[in-house]
């Protein structure tokens, strides 16, 4: 093979590689855009169902408090979808963490809304399936 042929072949490989990289980058951007849209939809739905006080707290601090319907205890639901629920003690400090979430792959806003409704309407049944964890491991 001549030097000229080698040069042409290497240029073709380079062009194909550049095209491949561009396609991978475009696919990554499309995925990011879709993920951002899904996340935003979840947050919008959550905000629609929060009380005015909870909405204000969430907008300011990225978490909101709910009162358990059975015990009257206060829980803090942080933005996220795992190990994001804390039980708040009388000293206004997190005392224990609770981990529970809906089955399937849901965005954070959806998970938080399900957690809120569960604690506000069937607290003890919810905690019965939840895993308790020491607060030192939580956020």
């Amino acid at each position: 093979m001549s030097a000229r042929s080698l040069l042409i072949a290497s240029r073709r490989v380079g062009a194909s590689l550049a095209q491949y990289i561009r396609e991978v980058q475009a696919a990554h951007e499309r995925y990011r855009a879709r993920f951002a849209t899904r996340e935003a939809r979840g947050v919008n739905l959550l905000r629609e169902w929060l009380s005015p006080e909870q909405r204000a707290q969430f907008d300011a601090k990225r978490y909101f408090d709910v009162i358990g319907c059975d015990s009257g205890k206060r829980y803090r639901i942080h933005y996220g979808d795992i190990t994001n629920v804390q039980e708040i003690g009388d000293d206004d400090q997190p005392s224990v963490g609770w981990c529970f979430l809906p089955e399937g792959r849901l965005v954070a806003g959806d998970v938080m809304l399900a957690q809120k409704i569960a604690l506000e309407t069937y607290e003890y049944s919810t905690l019965a399936v939840a895993n308790r964890f020491p607060i030192r491991f939580s956020r």
Binding site: R38, R41, S51, T83, F100, P102, A114, K116, T121, A130
Partner: protein, 73 residues
Amino acid sequence: MATQIVMDHTGDARHHFDATDREAVAKAEERFRQLTGAGFTAAVRTASGDAAVTRSFDPTAEETLFFPRLVGG
């Protein structure tokens, strides 16, 4: 228009129906039955704005939210 909101991997899917349309109401009731039968929890908002879990289809509910069964994480 009444709306059934079903949480899913896209955020949520919304199904609108006219509560005065018998065929649409029957379809919405069937969706309610299938989702709750599959373990979804159905919740509506009360007049005061609080969420309440419901186990029966209410065609007059403005919004009904469905989320999957809760499990320990």
